[in-house]
Amino acid sequence: MSHSVELAGIGMTFGTTRAVSDVSFKVEAGEFFSILGPSGCGKTTILRMIAGFIEPTDGRVLIGDQDMKGLGPNQRPTAMIFQSLALFPLMSVRDNIAFGLEARGVGRAERRAKADDLLRLIALEGYGDRMPGELSGGQRQRVAIARALAVEPGVLLLDEPLSALDLKLRQHMRAELRALQKRTGVTFIYITHDQSEALAMSDRVAVMSAGLLQQVATPRELYDNPATPFVARFVGETNAIPGRITDVQAGTARIDTELGPLLGRAGQGAVPGAQGTIYVRPEALMPGGGENPLQAQIDRVDFEGSFALVHGRFDSGAALTASVPSTRLADAPVPGHRASFGFQHAHAVVLGDG
């Protein structure tokens, strides 16, 4: 059983601070949906409004098409996984998992059976009698997920649950969370400030900034067609070169920059005469020039194995980051020297600055 979640123009004001303004989107049932944004952008506030810990000051939260107004967190078909996990340290792993069932008055034998089922699901069979403090970080993580799934929620809300883990474990848990979501079919709403996490796991991602919704799209769409300058800069690395848009034709925009005229796909706000910026991904910049030639001074080349990260400055002074595949390192730039780059116009996007 999974539910859709719809936010209809929700807003939240704490005192005089506007934490969230007029956010609307719909998460489909069974979707893995992420809300991505820097800290303080309002994403946790949104999650807490969905969970019912706080009531939005404007707008409505609908879960499974039901208006949730006035319902507390214990009355909503949601379960939350907290950033700190919030496992109960004085209860065994099994009692932790069965806590929601205990609260619903389920009998002891049934609770035990269900908890053991869930322990199997998270591959911690036989750990039921341990205390949370005796488990590793990744195991505690999985217990927290099992505890939330025990109440058979229609929506699982995850508040940056992986942030406390080290990189290796985090990457492993990403895959595990994704698999678990597919297996259970529960709607996941996942909060993170880590864009690679959001891109890797989600069906769709909502990007937030300063309490405002920037874009809701699939990870691919978000990366290739950012709707706003914020999304272009926040999601993935990018080279931003400002200028004035002079011409837009058949989806291609021409922009006059300090480095000369450049071509890119026309994005939001790209109209002739407007101030704009062309955004080029590091992997789109190829050494050697060609279409859209650019000159740059090279400061540093970091060899990373399959590719090398080239750092430098364009002649206009703007920072350059290019990711050059190892197979093309033959014509790799040399630190301290000048080099030319180029990119195909289909690999860059021009957005209005408004």
């Binding site: 214990n74 919030a86 929601g100 205990e102 505890r147």
Partner: protein, 293 residues
């Protein structure tokens, strides 16, 4: 030891050590040993001291066992002190929870001030304030009669008055340890319990109280000991029907002139208090070291 020396140097740590030993030996150990010595000797006129009758005996303690009125007051003091601790807990727990988990910084400062400021005043005066409030023709009866809750004044002095004064006198000793304990509980745990569908009652019984167990036990131990050893509240607010065991001890010393019997009574009270405390700690499964923290 080594730790102390490293931190303060040999000179200062020796002074600390001597002060602590002095305090333990002269202020704690010696008076208690003297009390035990007194308790186990008969009350003799000065001329007979050191004579053939001056031998160790259990007669003072057996006298308490054989005296029905004193025995009844003794047991009543024990269970009534338990009641004082329980009522104090019932009063303090909601306040402590609110202060630790719900109050804003400003509210917390005001609440702490309101609770602590009365304790700047001497205990006798605070008890006297209750004496005035609870007086037969006092403000409480006047208010209750004015709003029509009672027809005639109630005589509060006696068990009710003693209970009220003691609960008030020992609030801090219950409130602060519980506040400290609940304060360290992560808010997300309460939210998680709520999110999983737990009722308010279950959140407290399954999450908050188990977490605050050591603080609650500490509060119980403090309040119980203070209540059992209290003299002012029963003396000022009690009635002949609500005598406290400490009053009888006092009487043996200062009115009966029998220090030996008074010491024996005090010794019995001390031993039983200790027993109650240890049993409580065992029931709560808390260590004495947790309480000391």
């Amino acid at each position: 030891m080594g730790d102390l020396k490293n931190r303060f140097g040999p000179g200062l740590s020796t002074i600390f050590l001597i002060l602590v030993l002095f305090w333990l030996a002269v202020m704690v150990l010696a008076p208690n040993l003297m009390m035990i010595d007194y308790a186990l000797r008969p009350n003799l006129p000065p001329a007979a001291l050191g004579g053939p009758d001056d031998t160790y005996t259990l007669s003072n303690i057996l006298y308490l066992a054989g005296e029905p009125t004193h025995r009844a007051i003794f047991f009543k003091t024990i269970w009534a002190s338990g009641l004082v601790a329980a009522v104090t807990f019932a009063v303090c727990y909601p306040i402590a929870f609110w202060m630790a988990q719900r109050a804003t910084t400003g509210q917390l400062a005001i609440a702490l001030m309101l609770i602590i400021i009365p304790f700047f005043i001497n205990e006798v005066l605070r008890t006297l304030a209750w004496f005035i409030i609870l007086a037969y023709r006092g403000p409480l009866n006047a208010v209750l009669m004015n709003i029509g809750l009672i027809e005639a004044p109630i005589r509060w002095q006696g068990n009710g008055g003693v209970l009220a004064a003691m609960v008030y006198a020992y609030i801090l000793f219950m409130l602060l340890p519980i506040y400290n304990a609940i304060e360290s509980l992560e808010k997300a745990q309460i939210e998680a319990a709520r999110d999983l569908g737990a009722s308010r009652w279950r959140i407290h019984t399954r999450v908050v109280i188990p977490h605050a167990k050591a603080g609650i036990a500490t509060g119980f131990v403090f309040t119980f000991m203070l209540a059992a050893g209290s003299y002012v509240a029963p003396a000022l607010l009690g009635s002949p029907g609500s005598r406290w065991f400490t009053e009888i001890i006092y009487n043996w010393f200062f009115e009966g002139g029998d220090w030996n019997r008074g010491a024996a009574y005090a010794l019995v009270l001390l031993v039983l208090c200790l027993a109650v405390v240890l049993v409580t700690l065992r029931l709560f499964r808390v260590n004495l070291t947790d309480v000391a923290k």
